[in-house]
């Protein structure tokens, strides 16, 4: 086990918890979307930390591919969430 793996991995765990707390507790939809993105970043951090093999050693490319996929899925989910929130606000102000 490398110190860097542990440091970055544990920070990832912390960020997941921080993000999830805001997703559950915050009233504003926009804050929740930001928080889901922060939560995702924490998960990515755990995966990239697991892939790390020390300086000068090629890292495991499989978690990297997973994270890359995750980033693209996260942005499309964010875009859809924002479109839903926009429609919701429009419907509410029509009432």
């Amino acid at each position: 086990m490398l110190t860097a793996q542990l440091l970055y991995g544990l920070t990832g765990c912390l960020i997941v918890a921080l993000g999830l707390r805001t997703v559950l507790l915050h009233a504003s939809l926009l804050h929740r979307v930001v928080a889901i993105n922060v939560l995702g970043a924490g998960v990515f951090m755990i995966l990239v930390a697991i892939a790390y093999r020390g300086p000068g050693v090629p890292p495991d490319p499989i978690p990297h591919a997973l994270v890359l996929t995750g980033i693209v899925v996260a942005v499309s989910a964010t875009a859809l969430a924002l479109a839903l929130a926009r429609r919701l606000t429009a419907e509410q102000s029509n009432d």
Partner: protein
């Protein structure tokens, strides 16, 4: 760099990541929160570089911090315009959603428990002799994949199914956005300074997108980073107040949105007809087929991200559909 120096760097980087995440989440002002989130993404990209994940770093900077940030900022701008009009509505909404203090504590404790469980699992996973079998299989078969960047080899060859489905997720999201509303109105034309910047920046961005697409075969880069860069060019044009931002008209736009999934399926099914497994490229052709799929995927990703930034159907499509209805 020596070990102590690296450790100090790690410490500083992680402290800034956690404090940026914390302040982005704790800020009551949405605009501030989004800007802090973008800074968080950029510092995160440095961390990916530090952990030798340059492919992820590029994607994070372009998509995670850049385009997500742009999408969120536009949403904030629109929300604060609306907020002035119907302030009363938002106040009642806030009261309805105000969570009781007890519940806040319960949720906080559960989140701490989750972090502890994750940390335990992580330490456990790192403690076991690392299972290098999959990474070994990748490096042994890299020569037959048609590319020499292992991340591209996994995304477009070894696990091409996953990427096909990922593009399907992207297509589903953009269909949702198209169904939910019409595009936001165009911006006013900007002054000569931004106009001059756009004139230089847009060609450079388009060129960079092409370079990233090509270089992805043997170095960090690929369709996702290239698509995001191409979308950034359109975003700059839109911010400059340009009416035409490179999106094609209705019919062609639909074809481009489906191009990523479409090209994957065409290649996969053609291979199936030739008696090979679905998406099992012949090694001699793998490089060209991957470039073909990636080019289509880049266009689809860029168009999807631009439509997400517009916020819905561009006017041409909206008019077209009204005509059909008449």
């Amino acid at each position: 760099m020596n070990t102590t120096g690296l450790l100090v760097f790690d410490g500083l980087l992680l402290i800034s990541i956690v404090s940026l995440a914390w302040s982005a989440l704790a800020s009551p002002d949405a605009r501030r929160s989004v800007i802090l989130f973008m800074a968080f993404g950029l510092v995160l990209a440095v961390a990916w570089g530090r952990l030798l994940a340059p492919d992820v770093a590029l994607a994070e900077a372009a998509i995670g911090a850049g385009l997500s940030g742009a999408l969120l900022l536009v949403a904030v701008g629109e929300q604060s315009n609306r907020a002035l009009q119907d302030n009363a509505l938002r106040v009642s909404e806030r009261n309805a959603l105000r969570v009781r203090a007890t519940l806040q504590w319960v949720i906080t404790i559960l989140c701490v428990a989750l972090a502890a469980t994750l940390a335990w699992a992580l330490v456990h996973a790192l403690d076991r002799a690392t299972n290098e079998r999959l990474a070994q299989i990748v490096s042994e078969n890299l020569a037959a994949s048609g590319v020499s960047n292992p991340v591209t080899a996994i995304l477009l060859n070894f696990r091409a199914y996953d990427t096909l489905l990922e593009l399907a997720v992207l297509l589903t999201a953009v269909l949702g956005i198209l169904a939910l509303g019409t595009a936001r109105p165009d911006y006013q034309r900007t002054g000569p300074v931004f106009d001059g910047l756009a004139r230089w920046l847009v060609p450079v961005l388009i060129l960079t997108a092409g370079y990233l697409l090509w270089v992805g075969a043997h170095a960090p880069g690929g369709a996702f980073q290239a698509g995001a860069t191409l979308a950034a060019a359109a975003v700059v044009l839109r911010l400059a107040g340009e009416r035409s931002i490179g999106l094609p008209q209705a019919g062609a736009l639909r074809v481009i949105l489906a191009a990523g999934v479409g090209m994957f399926l065409v290649v996969g099914l053609t291979l199936l007809l030739l008696g090979r497994p679905f998406l099992g490229y012949p090694p001699a052709w793998a490089g060209s087929l991957i470039l073909l799929i990636e080019s289509a995927a880049m266009l689809a990703i860029a168009a999807t991200l631009v439509l997400a930034f517009l916020g819905g159907r561009p006017p041409a499509i909206a008019v077209n559909e009204e005509n059909n209805r008449c």
